[in-house]
């Protein structure tokens, strides 16, 4: 994270068009990509749960979606701050990218309502897995929405001609992406260990009671 910050502020040049506010790009886009990755990982684990039923896949799916919602909230917050300085308002309902991302975020936020409204057990695990799988469809919709709808409000940086930025900017962006994905993977690992430990302690308490 430190290397990424150093590259963003001391190596990548200031954007000629947007000025200093473009520095939010190195944070906002990697966080959004990390949120997509977390949701996709959660859906993959949900798929594995329904297909091969390995022990713990349901919990792994839940933790990945939890991480995705955290990064999704940060995407919306950093995006709103960037929108305020770039467009003059915090939110634009006319932007398909923004609205589809909000739908994706709300869809996965509702996952927790489903999970905590059903008694723990195989039925809850199956229901949550099916729900997580439905949500993954929204990821390509959100990603492709600006390309399909020709949205001129939200900028399209990655086109079929490659990234629309200089080499040093792209390098700083890639390091930021790697840093945030590593942070998300670490958070995922720590949270998963905590949940597993909690579950083992509960089992032990029941045995000793």
């Amino acid at each position: 994270m430190g290397t990424a910050l150093a590259l963003v502020f001391f190596y990548a040049p200031i954007d000629a068009d947007q000025g200093l506010s473009q520095k939010i790009f190195y944070l906002h886009v990697p966080i959004a990509l990390t949120a997509y990755a977390c949701f996709a990982w959660g859906a993959w684990k949900a798929f594995l749960h329904l297909w091969k039923r390995p022990p713990g896949a349901d919990l792994e799916s839940y933790v990945a979606i939890h991480q995705g919602v955290i990064f999704g909230a940060l995407t919306l917050l950093t995006g709103s701050i960037w929108a305020r300085i770039s467009w003059g308002h915090w939110w634009a309902w006319s932007s398909n990218q923004l609205v589809t991302f909000l739908i994706l975020f709300l869809f996965y936020s509702a996952y927790f309502m489903l999970r905590y409204s059903v008694e723990p057990g195989p039925a809850r695990a199956n229901m949550c897995a099916v729900y997580a799988l439905f949500g993954v469809v929204l990821i390509p919709v959100s990603w492709l929405s600006i390309r399909i709808a020709n949205d001129y409000i939200h900028p399209t940086v990655f086109t079929t001609n490659g990234p629309q930025m200089s080499g040093s900017m792209f390098f700083a962006f890639c390091v930021s992406c790697a840093a945030l994905l590593t942070l998300a993977a670490t958070m995922y690992g720590v949270e998963l260990v905590g949940k597993r430990l909690d579950s083992r302690l509960r089992e032990l308490r029941e045995l000793l009671a």
């Binding site: 000025g19 939010i24 917050l77 950093t78 701050i81 949270e191 302690l201 000793l208």
Partner: protein
């Protein structure tokens, strides 16, 4: 400080605070798990002592 600098600082601060809040929540959870583990260890120790006493009485 220019408006752009303020907004850039706010965006980075939001993420920093978000990660910090997550670390604080996880630290609180780990502290609770540690308390639970100590409680269960104590329970298991007492149970083992009681089992030893019962064995001595039966002998």
């Amino acid at each position: 400080m220019s408006a752009a600098e303020k907004y850039v600082a706010a965006a980075y601060l939001v993420v920093f605070v978000g990660v910090l809040a997550w670390v604080a929540i996880i630290a609180a959870k780990l502290a609770r798990l540690e308390r639970d583990a100590s409680e269960l260890a104590e329970l298991a120790r007492r149970r083992a002592e009681r089992a030893d006493e019962r064995e001595k009485v039966s002998v």
